[in-house]
């Protein structure tokens, strides 16, 4: 069975939801403490949402120096699937595993609402089971989700098919309506929306499951 490690920093608060979503689809999942310097035997890593280290200085700024991040970087460099959700996306950009930065939302509102996403590529560890053009209803919950990068980086991401999901109605001012991107190797993906909060009909949407199914497939391929 494929095993997903869910990294927990002080201030992380979505770890149980991610673990539940993975287990509901038949995967194994366990928490990994940020202070550890190595990962257990894993097939995929998720950095979940929350407020790692209180979001002090900038979201993700302190988390990039947590001991576990060295091991996560190594895992990613070897092609292992790594997904950052919301605060996890911010951690991955601060760590340099993903390009760009997440700025304060345009309009300065904390946004907690469902968002409609469009899948832009099925060539990533988070969307391999999805279809290009498919729309997904998945909630967002963030203050700093306004994806920002240089015009050159934006052009590169678009040319290289590395924009993974976009917002149909851009809620936060993100450049290119970007909700999620991947790295060159397509194994590291970050996105602001929370697929774990759309993993059961009781939550109002099951559209997030296609992402966890993709992640488990990528994990299996990596196992």
């Amino acid at each position: 069975m494929t095993k997903v490690g869910v990294v927990v920093f002080p201030g992380t608060n979505c770890e149980s939801d991610v673990i539940e979503s993975v287990r509901a689809l038949g995967g194994e999942a366990e928490m990994v403490w940020h202070g550890d310097s190595s990962l257990p035997q894993l097939d995929a890593v998720v950095i979940p949402g929350g407020f790692a280290h209180g979001d002090y200085l900038r979201p993700g700024a302190i988390a990039q120096f947590s001991s576990i991040m060295g091991a996560v970087r190594e895992f990613a460099d070897k092609g292992g699937p790594v997904v950052g959700i919301c605060n996890g996306f911010q951690v991955l950009t601060e760590t340099g595993l993903l390009p760009g930065a997440l700025q304060k939302n345009a309009g300065l509102k904390f946004l907690c609402q469902p968002a409609t996403l469009r899948v832009e590529t099925s060539n990533s560890s988070l969307t391999s089971a999805a279809e290009v053009g498919q729309t997904l209803r998945i909630p967002i919950n963030h203050f700093e989700g306004n994806f920002t990068c240089s015009p050159e980086t934006l052009a590169q991401l678009q040319d290289e098919d590395r924009v993974v999901v976009t917002y149909v109605d851009n809620p936060n001012g993100s450049m290119g309506d970007i909700a999620g991107v991947c790295n060159e190797g397509r194994n590291v993906v970050g996105l602001m929306p929370h697929p774990e909060r759309a993993s059961n009909a009781l939550l109002g949407s099951e559209d997030g499951n296609v992402m966890f199914t993709s992640l488990l497939q990528s994990a299996l391929a990596n196992a």
């Binding site: 302190i62 930065a101 939302n105 345009a106 309009g107 001012g173």
Partner: protein, 83 residues
């Protein structure tokens, strides 16, 4: 030697500043007309021990690059004075 350091972090020019824009929009409603170009940043003060001012500045520069700023969207104005 001890140096006192002031680091002013600001968004790079060209990067939109939602806080600055919001403040700028709010000012006229309070009766303040003619205020423009509002940019919001943050400042940090600390002291460093170094052989000389150049060494102190080099160290602060490195700290700014590594952690105090996100170079993708921010830069820093660094002021170093003998404490």
């Amino acid at each position: 030697m001890t140096f006192s350091v002031l680091v002013e972090v600001q968004l790079r020019s060209g990067i939109s500043d939602p806080q600055g824009q919001t403040i700028e929009r709010a000012l006229p409603t309070l009766g303040y007309e003619g205020v423009s170009g509002v940019r919001v940043g943050k400042s940090m003060r600390f002291t460093v021990e170094a052989a000389d001012e150049a060494a102190a500045r080099a160290q602060v520069d490195e700290i700014c690059q590594k952690v105090l700023t996100n170079p993708v969207i921010e830069d820093a104005i660094i002021t170093v004075d003998p404490a």
